[in-house]
C-alpha cells in the first residue's frame, strides 16, 4: 500500500476571498520527498489553482520559504513529514496562498547595498587577506530567505522597520572587509544591533546554518564596543567594568555605570520594591573574595586571541 502524506495548506486570494481557509490534500509518499515535491504533486495532479514559489530549487534564491508545521523553512530543503500544515511567512502581505510579497523587507535589507564601498579609483592588484576572505564567506551565505525574520522576537516587537537580522548579516560582511570605507559601526547601531535578544532562534532555522549570534551580532558588537559609541557600547563597557570591580555582575551596578546617577534615580521606585523583597543588590557592595583572580584573567593583557 502506498503511504500517504496528509497536508493542510493555507489558502487565500485577497481579491476574491473574505477570509483565509485551510485545504487538506492527500499525496502519495515517495522516499526522500521534499516539501516542494509535495506542493508540485498537488499543483500538477490535484489542484492547479494552488500558488507557491519554487524557483532555483537549490537553496540559493531564498524565495520559497514558508512555515512548515509552524517553523520557517525552504521547501527545496526540508523533507516532507507524514502530516504537515503549510502556511505563508508571517509579517508580509499575502499575494495568494503561500506566496507573500517580499519586496518591502528586501528593500530594507538592500538599503545596505551589496557592494564593498571602496576608495576610488581602486588600486590594482588588490591584496585581500586570507582571513578576510574566510570571514566574508559566512555572511555571504545568506540568501535573504527571511526564515530568521519569521522567528526573531526583536522583529516581532519592533517591526521589521527597526530590526532585521539579514540586514545585520549584510553589514557584518562588510565590517570585516579592510577595503570597505563605510562607517559600519554607525550603520549597525542605527540598525538597532543591541536589540538582538541573543535567543539563537535565527540560527535554528537558517538553511545555511550561519552562526548569526557569533559571526554577526557578537562580531559587530565587538566593533561597536571598541569604538566606545552608542548605548550598546556604553552598556558592554559598564558590564565589563562591573565585572572587573566586583567579580560578579548586578543590574544596579551596570545601570549606574551605563546610564548614570540621574537615570538610576528614576528607577528608584522599582528599586524600593526590590529592597522590600530582598532582591536588590547594591552597586556599592563588596567584591567576591577572589576578585584579584578575576581581574588577573580578564585584564587587558589577556585579550590576545
Amino acid at each position: 500500500m502506498v503511504k500517504e502524506i496528509t497536508v493542510s495548506i493555507f489558502r487565500y486570494d485577497p481579491e476574491s476571498d473574505k477570509h483565509p481557509s485551510y485545504q487538506t490534500y492527500s499525496v502519495p509518499s515517495k522516499e526522500r520527498m521534499l516539501v516542494g515535491d509535495v506542493l508540485e504533486y498537488i499543483h500538477e495532479n490535484l489542484d492547479g489553482s494552488l500558488a507557491y514559489r519554487w524557483e532555483c530549487r537549490m537553496r540559493l534564491c531564498g524565495g520559497c520559504t514558508i512555515l512548515i508545521n509552524g517553523k520557517p523553512g525552504l521547501i527545496c530543503r526540508e523533507q516532507a513529514e507524514p502530516s504537515m500544515t503549510l502556511e505563508p511567512l508571517p509579517f508580509l502581505p499575502i499575494v495568494r496562498d503561500l506566496v507573500v510579497d517580499r519586496k518591502s523587507l528586501l528593500d530594507k535589507i538592500y538599503s545596505v547595498p551589496p557592494l564593498t564601498r571602496q576608495k576610488s579609483p581602486v588600486r590594482l592588484p588588490e591584496p585581500i587577506a586570507h582571513e578576510v576572505i574566510l570571514g566574508l564567506r559566512v555572511p555571504r551565505q545568506c540568501v535573504q530567505c527571511l526564515a530568521c525574520v519569521a522567528v526573531c522576537p526583536a522583529t516581532e516587537v519592533l517591526t521589521a522597520d527597526l530590526f532585521l537580522p539579514p540586514k545585520l548579516i549584510q553589514i557584518a560582511g562588510f565590517a570585516i572587509d579592510d577595503r570597505d570605507t563605510v562607517d559600519r559601526v554607525q550603520e549597525s547601531e542605527e540598525s538597532n544591533l543591541f536589540d538582538c535578544a541573543c535567543c539563537h532562534a535565527c540560527e535554528e532555522v537558517c538553511p545555511h546554518e550561519i552562526n548569526i549570534s557569533e559571526k554577526v551580532i557578537t562580531a559587530l558588537r565587538n566593533k561597536t564596543y571598541e569604538h566606545g559609541i552608542g548605548r550598546g557600547g556604553r552598556y558592554i563597557k559598564a558590564f565589563y567594568d562591573t565585572l572587573q570591580a566586583k567579580g560578579k555582575v548586578n543590574a544596579s551596578g551596570i545601570l549606574l555605570r551605563s546610564q548614570g546617577y540621574l537615570r538610576a534615580i528614576m528607577k528608584a521606585p522599582q528599586g524600593i520594591r526590590l529592597i522590600a523583597r530582598g532582591k536588590f543588590v547594591s552597586p556599592f557592595g563588596k567584591p567576591i573574595p577572589d576578585i584579584e583572580d578575576i581581574r588577573t584573567i580578564i585584564g587587558p593583557t589577556e585579550q590576545e586571541k
Partner: protein, 286 residues
Amino acid sequence: MKYAYYPGCAAKGSTPEADFTTRLVAQTLGIELLELQNSGCCGAKEIRVVSRRLDLNLNARILSLAQGLGLDILTICNTCLLNLNQANNQLKAEPETLQKVNKSLSKIGLSYDGSTNVKHLLHVLLTDLGLDRLKQSVKTPLTGLKVAPFYGCHIVRPVKDLGFDVAKTESLEALVRTLHAHPVEYPGRTKCCGFYVLMPNEAAASGMIAHRLEEALKADADCIVTPCPLCHVALDMFQEQALGKVGIRRTIPVLHLPQLVGLALGISEKNLQFSRHLVRVNILGK
C-alpha cells in the same frame, strides 16, 4: 549524587529564592551540592563582545574549580549552562586555545584539562535522579494545577552546543506531569523572554515579555514555570509594567523550577519564598 554547585550571578542577587529553594529541593531529594565559592560570573552574553578569550578564561576558571573538586557542575541558570558548555566544547576541540587559556589560568594557580561536565538542575532531575525517583518523593501532588512550561532560550538552543534537546523531548512537560500537574500547550514555550534587551532597550524587552505572558494567559495557565532565573527576572519583575503597557490587568505567577518541584515535595510556602516575587503567587489550593 554530588555536584559542584554554580548558581550564577542572578540566583545570588536578583532571585535569591532560586538559590535557596534549589538547596532545599536538593537536600530533600538526596542530591549533595558543594557550592563553588568565589566562582564569579560566567561573562553572560556580554564579555564575549569584549573578547572571546576573556569569556573563555572566565568559564575555564569555573570549570577548573569544579575539576579541583572532582565533580560535575550543576547550574540553575540557562545562560551559565550555555556559556560553560560552549567554552568547554571549544577548549576540548582546540588544544591550542586550551593551552593559551591555561597560560592565563596559571597566573592564578589553576589549570583545566577538559574533564568537567556541566548540567542544569533540569537535566539532573530528568536523567541523574530520574523521574521515577522524583515521583516517589512527591508528597503533595499538584493535581489540577495548569502549568505553562517556559524553557528559556539557552537551555534549548543551540542544540549542538548543549548536546541535549530538552524542548523536543518535552522534558519540562514530563517533569510537570511527574508532579501530577498539567502542562498546558502554548506557542511561547521555547520563545525568548527578552531579558537580554532589558538593559539596552527596556521598551522592546517589555514588548517581548508581554507577548510571552499573553501566550501563557491565553492558554489558561495558572502559573508559568521556568528553569532560568534570568527569565524569572523578566517575566516576574517586569510583568506588571509589561502587561500594563498592553492594557492587560490580569497577572500570572512565575515559578522557578525548584519552587514547583519543592511545592510537590511538600516544602512549605514560606520556605519556597513566594513572598519574594513581585507577582503574587496565588496558585495554592488550586
